[in-house]
Amino acid sequence: MSRTLREMRPVSVVGVGLHPYQRPGDTPYTALGVHAVRAALADAGLDWQAVETAYTGTATTAMGLSRLMYRHLGASGIPMTQVENASASGSTAFRQACIDVASGLVEVAIAVGVDKPAAFRRPTTAAGVRDLAAGRIVPFTHFALLANRYMFDHGATPEQFAMVAVKNARNGAGNPNAQRQKERTLEEVLAPPQISGPLTRLQCCPIGEGAAAAIVASEDAIARLGLDPARAVRVLSSAARSETVYQAENFDAALTRETTEIALADAGIAADALDVIELHDAFTVEELLYIEAMGLAPAGGAASQLAEGQFDIGGRVAVSPSGGLLAMGHPIGPTGVGQICEIAAQLRGEAGLRQHPGARLGLAHMVGVGAVCLVHVLAAAA
């Protein structure tokens, strides 16, 4: 019989660390990754030798890149596995680390996301799949099509999409690890260059480089290694789905709805119990679509609730308190792990300027082209 993560033994995030997301530069991926791992080890109060397995979420950098990075932490001979799942690579690496601990295979596991943007080949090209648009529909245009349909269906305005970027820029301005740390006005977000449909440049996430690390451990390990149980953030559920056939229904939203329903049911909570959410806001329209798909607002209702401040830090539920992909950035491999870092900081009450008051329950959501969705629900220590 299959079991949910919560029906296995408890697994908690005990340490998180980041290398700031930044414009692509000369820093090798090895330095980015080791910086994040050392930060996570220091946060947990652990030595590298305590880590029993490593999953590296990475999509754009190089084949088999793990050991050249981890070797700088000392030889241990642990299993090292690259996890490629497009934008959800880091989220999937985190899921694998959690499964290894929850199943009892290991006591301590690490998920690391690391990437430097590089030319990559689309699976449709490799598969020989062509369409009438002949390569003209790249991700921002995929979401521009959704944005225009959303405006048609709900009477939404370009200003309402832009408000998502205004909120997330404000959050990112308080995040020293964010690639964009500048507050933006509505006028600035709406200013040219126009990219596709209603989307302007500041409504599209920056693709940079960076790294993120999250260490997960069993209750036995927390006790044996003398870790602080009050700072351990429990992973209540891990849900993963792939796209099926939705006909005319927007598949990103449908897949998000299905996967979030599973994650919330497995965690035993309702959507309105969530305090903080990190979601795949690569383009402004996505935040509105996913808030609705998660059941936090009625169809077409997210924009007006956002304008009322319901998704601000300190509002009904803080959405993208890190700045999200729009402001913190989207270095691909790190992004999903970086969301876990932010949720852990929020649930520990350690998020500083970005702290959402009284945060107890958090949700992390990523979609990956191709197309997959990963959702994790986390809870503050009891």
Binding site: V129, R130, D131, L132, A133, A134, G135, R136, I137, V138, T141, A144, L145, L146, A147, N148, R149, M151, F152, D153, H154, G155, A156, P193, Q194, I195, S196, G197, V245, Q247, A248
Partner: protein, 142 residues
């Protein structure tokens, strides 16, 4: 004469574009672009997938004018469309001219667009969708 920019996808001989679709004998679903290996609904094998011509006509589901594109041979701006074909699938292609979102819900049909002339003097063509008549779709936006 006309030659197809992408011969796998449409037949340039017809005066109006006809798309190369496929249909699954087992579950009856129609696909475009065509599937040749197996059915993505029911998993029927290649022998169950039959080539069918699809009229390049339907209802405009969404559209977007694209202002920036990194592709070397692709000149922006251009307008892309999602079209719910009368023959089944929701497909993506190009509009022959820009339009705004109040065109969503309109009837559209493809016509040949001449992209260039090849070395043999043939017109290289691809289908592009044109608004036939405005639907009374009743969407909220201007």
């Amino acid at each position: 004469m006309r030659v197809a920019a992408d011969p796998g996808l449409y037949d340039p001989e017809n005066p109006l574009p006809t798309l190369h679709g496929s249909r699954c004998d087992a579950c009856g679903t129609t696909f475009f672009p065509p599937l040749g290996i197996g059915c993505e609904i029911c998993g029927a094998g290649a022998e169950g997938l039959r080539a069918v011509p699809l009229a390049a006509a339907g209802t405009l589901h969404s559209l977007a004018t694209v202002y920036v594109h990194a592709g070397e041979d692709i000149e922006a701006p251009f307008t892309v469309a999602e079209v719910q074909l009368d023959d089944g699938p929701l497909i993506r292609g190009l509009m022959s001219e820009p339009a705004t979102i109040d065109a969503i819900g309109s009837r559209v049909a493809a016509q040949w667009a001449e992209l260039r002339t090849d070395a043999d003097g043939n017109d290289v063509v691809e289908p592009r969708f044109r608004i036939e008549d405005r639907g009374d779709a009743g969407g909220g936006a201007a």
